[in-house]
Amino acid sequence: MIVTNIETVPGHTIVEHYGIVQGSTVRAKHVGVDCVAGCQNTFGGELKGYSQLLEESRSEAVSRMMQQAQQMGANAIVNVRFGTSSITQGASELLAYGTAVRVE
């Protein structure tokens, strides 16, 4: 599965178009990480626990999107975009969407 965020897959031509596919995930970290982040929040800087959490969930969202594309019979996703929104304290939704296509 080839995933890009430009309109084409360089070196290939698009032969078929399957429409939009998306994958999303809502995740929260356990209370321990929340507490550590609360302390770090006093001094500022990077919150590693949350960085890691979002990194994992983003990969998850992308792989769900890829699964959906695979079921349609696509072998590439172009024009991928990401979105993030916070649902409640310490939980956020990550969304990935793009156009499923078949390339040759």
Partner: protein, 152 residues
């Protein structure tokens, strides 16, 4: 009175620790940016010939940051009069550079020659735990398409 003194000492302490973290981060950013200068990273998308491309894939880098307590109080004061809030400007600038660097590093690790169509995204993902008035945490996300050229 004593409460107020404790608060002042706390704020000053936080200020110096925050400054220290910022300086250390800036120094590390500069070194790592120098090391990756060879790799073009562009917002445009047609900077190569299709026939030269061996592989294209999606890369992303993200970082979650929060401002320190001093910044929050300082911003609160500035907001009263309006104007630029420099404390937050530097924070957002630094974290965006960090996210960009992470993306470039992950692209370089897989042998990319350039990254095209780079997009930036910022999301507020909540505030300090149990405190709605907190400084707020921001997620900086940078993503793009890594390109590897055929070797000549």
């Amino acid at each position: 009175m004593v409460d107020f003194l404790i608060f002042i000492v706390f704020i000053i302490g936080v200020f110096f620790i925050g400054q220290h973290i910022q300086k250390k981060h800036c120094a590390s950013l500069e070194i790592r940016e120098q090391a990756l200068l060879y790799m073009p990273t562009v917002v445009g998308r047609k900077v190569f010939e299709d026939s030269e491309v061996e592989k294209a894939w999606l890369v992303h880098g993200a970082v979650v940051v929060s401002g320190d307590y001093f910044k929050m109080v300082y911003a609160g004061l500035i907001k009263f009069f309006g104007g630029r809030i420099r404390a937050y400007e530097s924070l957002l600038d630094r974290s965006r550079r960090e996210a960009l660097l992470r993306m470039k590093e992950s692209a370089a690790a897989d042998g990319a020659h350039m990254v095209v169509n780079v997009r930036f995204e910022t999301a507020k993902i909540g505030s300090m735990v149990g405190n709605q008035q907190g400084t707020g945490m921001f997620e900086m996300l940078v993503y793009g398409t890594a390109i590897r050229m055929k070797s000549q």
